[in-house]
């Protein structure tokens, strides 16, 4: 029983830290409100879509910015998509970098764009790790709860 309490605390604390450190914002809470017994994996599914989509976009961005004559409209379109999807799942820090990124696109500032690309990759990797850890802790907690009722 003590183990269960410990797991719960670990999960709760970790989750709280993600919000406190700005990795996630209120939109992530909204996602959890949409999850229920009929759709128990909703959050994981949407977040997985976000991972897939982001990886695709980051690759496109790297390619687009590697061209001789950068097509900034294309770069901006990709960043706009990434901004939208990160906003939709509550990945606040990724979203914020995207906002700065778009400003550099508008100025057609290559150096600024390249810096933002590095930064957004970094933030994406961080939030991906955090979310994967969160889901793992949740699975452990659910498994422990399940077995404690044997």
């Amino acid at each position: 029983m003590a183990y269960l309490v410990q797991l719960q605390k670990q999960f709760d604390d970790y989750r709280a830290s993600l919000f406190n450190e700005g990795f996630l914002d209120d939109q992530f809470e909204q996602l959890q409100q949409l999850q229920d017994e009929s759709n128990p994996d909703f959050v994981v599914e949407v977040v997985s879509l976000f991972f897939q989509d982001s990886e695709r976009l980051l690759n496109e961005l790297a390619t687009s910015l590697d061209q001789q004559n950068t097509d900034y409209r294309k770069v901006d379109a990709h960043v706009h998509q990434l901004k939208g999807s990160s906003s939709s799942i509550g990945a606040q820090r990724v979203q914020r970098v995207c906002i700065a990124f778009r400003n550099f696109c508008e100025e057609q500032n290559t150096e600024g764009c390249l810096k933002c690309l590095q930064q957004v990759k970094h933030e994406y990797t961080l939030v991906k790790n955090k979310l994967e850890t969160l889901f793992k802790l949740e699975r452990q907690l659910l498994a422990a709860r399940g077995s404690s009722f044997v």
Partner: protein, 237 residues
């Protein structure tokens, strides 16, 4: 012949069950946003059809030009477009569309819909960007509302205001009176209610056999006694 008849009855029942939920056509090029919107709508008890572009939305509504049809392969129907039910009887109560989409924008879709036989269907436009000029343009173009993404459950509560009547493409109106009698039916069936009140008052003063709509009207303004906080169990000595 008997087999066909029971099939017909089965379909009629299914269709009626479908008709009891408002049907929303959701248009967004982002898969994540489509998934979110679909879930938001389903949780709010709406029936949802999602498409990924304005073109697909027009196809679904049967508004595609003949020229376009002639160019596409005769036998194929694209796997990405939903099963389009027969035009007659297709019911869409609300269209929700993203503004920024490649190809046809949400605004373009709005104009096309407003210039078609579906012009009475309310259209709501969504966008991640808060651009006042864009918002005015959409509202002036006939959009019912402009919502900022990401959408939340509370945003959907407001949608109920536009969804009083199901709008059938072929103008069937059987369901209209059924739905009007529910919940917010007070306004649309005012005359009937007044008649009922008068009738019951004249028959007996304490009659409780009024229909539920009358009780709801009474419940709107709480009696003064209810406004006083209830005494707690423990008395403060």
């Amino acid at each position: 012949m008997e087999v066909m008849e029971s099939d017909h009855v089965h379909h009629a029942i299914e269709e009626q069950q479908e008709q009891q939920h408002f049907h929303v056509l959701a248009v967004d090029d982002s898969l994540i946003d489509r998934k979110l919107l679909e879930r938001l709508l389903k949780v709010s008890s709406y029936k949802v059809t999602c498409v990924d572009s304005g073109d697909e939305a027009l196809k679904y509504l049967g508004l595609v030009d003949d020229d376009v049809d002639k160019n596409s392969p005769a036998s194929s129907s694209s796997s990405s477009s939903p099963q389009s039910p027969a035009q007659d009887g297709l019911k869409v109560n609300l269209i929700m569309t993203d503004y920024c989409m490649p190809g046809m924008s949400g605004y373009d879709l709005l104009k096309r819909v407003k210039g078609s036989s579906w012009k009475d269907v309310p259209v709501v436009i969504m966008s991640s960007e808060n651009v006042p000029a864009r918002i005015s343009k959409c509202l002036e173009g006939g959009a019912e509302e402009f919502l900022l993404k990401p959408l939340q459950l509370s945003d959907l509560k407001n949608l109920e205001h536009y969804l009083l009547k199901p709008l059938h493409h072929s103008c069937q109106s059987n369901i209209i009176s059924d739905i009007a009698a529910e919940d917010d039916g007070v306004d649309s069936s005012d005359d009937n209610i007044n008649n009922d009140i008068i009738d019951s008052k004249s028959s007996s003063s304490s009659s409780n056999n009024n229909n539920s709509i009358i009780n709801k009207r009474k419940a709107v303004s709480p009696e003064p006694s209810e406004r006083r906080p209830r005494a707690k169990g423990l008395a403060v000595v």
